[in-house]
């Protein structure tokens, strides 16, 4: 499976995701944001970081960069797109995913391992997980407070487009375990065709028992199926 990772000035999880992809046997290429064409890819990853120093709004400037036109074209023709953290913010700024990510409710940058629950395991990104499986995945963000309008919120529920929700270690979803104030504890969402996933947690940080755990591996394994 071929993948590529888009790199912006200020991206800082680009090499982490590249390492994860290569470990999982993806043939990966890095693409600088000024490129005007994408290498042939089955998966495009928009990595985490602080593209353009979060100027204006997180992801706003990167969302309007030249290469994003190509990413939008690829997305519309069914290519798989994964946006992690800042990548999720960029995807909402381009309009590929609806909603937006506001400043964390308590105004603090949060860097910790949290529990998230697999809400849909029938997608190309999640088929190797069990439904309602609880994963421990790292989050590291200042703007992860997912917000959207009522119409989209209803659509997310009705069409099963919520990928992950913040929960406790038993899988109970409550405000108490909501780290950033995200609407309905949402940690990640799909577009209606389910070929685009945006998520705040970092699965690429959870692929090696030596440094964390391996809860992120099945996301990449699902993609390989």
């Amino acid at each position: 499976m071929k993948s590529c990772v888009i790199v912006f000035p200020g991206s800082n999880c680009d090499r982490d995701i590249a390492t994860a992809l290569e470990k999982m046997q993806f043939k990966n290429k890095m693409v600088w944001h000024k490129e005007t064409a994408l290498p042939k890819s089955d998966l495009i990853v928009i990595p985490g970081g602080f593209s353009y120093g979060d100027y204006l709004r997180s992801g706003a400037i990167a969302g309007k960069s030249i290469i994003l036109d190509e990413v939008i074209k690829a997305a519309n023709s069914g290519c798989l797109i994964l946006g992690i953290c800042n990548g999720f913010q960029i995807l909402t700024e381009t309009g590929l995913l609806s909603g937006t990510l506001l400043r964390n409710k308590k105004l603090k940058f949060i860097n910790k391992d949290v529990n998230i629950k697999v809400m849909n395991n029938k997608t190309k990104f999640s088929s190797n997980y069990r439904l309602n499986q609880v994963l421990k995945i790292n989050i590291a963000h200042n703007e992860g407070n997912f917000f959207t309008n009522e119409k989209h919120r209803e659509q997310l529920k009705k069409e099963d487009l919520i990928a992950f929700k913040y929960c406790d270690e038993k899988g109970d979803i409550s405000e108490r375990v909501n780290p950033n104030g995200a609407m309905d504890n949402i940690a990640g969402i799909y577009n209606s065709k389910k070929n685009i996933l945006g998520m705040m947690p970092h699965p690429e940080r959870m692929i090696d028992e030596m440094i964390s755990n391996t809860d992120g591996i099945n996301l990449f394994k699902s993609l390989l199926n």
Partner: protein
């Protein structure tokens, strides 16, 4: 000569301000913190504070309607996230 140039460029330029604010229903934690801090400083008549952004934009255009349309495009394309923010354009004298 330089003066003439400055005069000319001034004539072809229109200045606008854009104020971007969070929509009413959107939580504004920064505004809330500023409000609480001011209350702690003894500003007891303070009712509420919402924090926003301010842009000053010069447009090289003589026609005010056209210029304003351009600024509006700038807002919709980049400056404003229409899901959570409102904006107001004003002509600066």
């Amino acid at each position: 000569m330089e003066k003439l140039f400055q005069l000319n460029s001034k004539k072809n330029k229109l200045k606008f301000s854009v104020i971007v604010t969070l929509k009413k229903d959107v939580l504004d934690p920064q505004g809330k913190v500023v409000q609480n801090t001011l209350a702690n400083l003894g500003m007891d008549n303070l009712k509420s504070i919402r924090q926003g952004k301010y842009f000053e934009i010069d447009v090289e255009e003589q026609d005010q309607v056209k210029a304003e349309e351009k600024v509006n495009q700038m807002c919709e394309k980049l400056l404003v996230n229409l899901i959570i923010e409102d904006y107001k354009i004003d002509k600066v004298k």
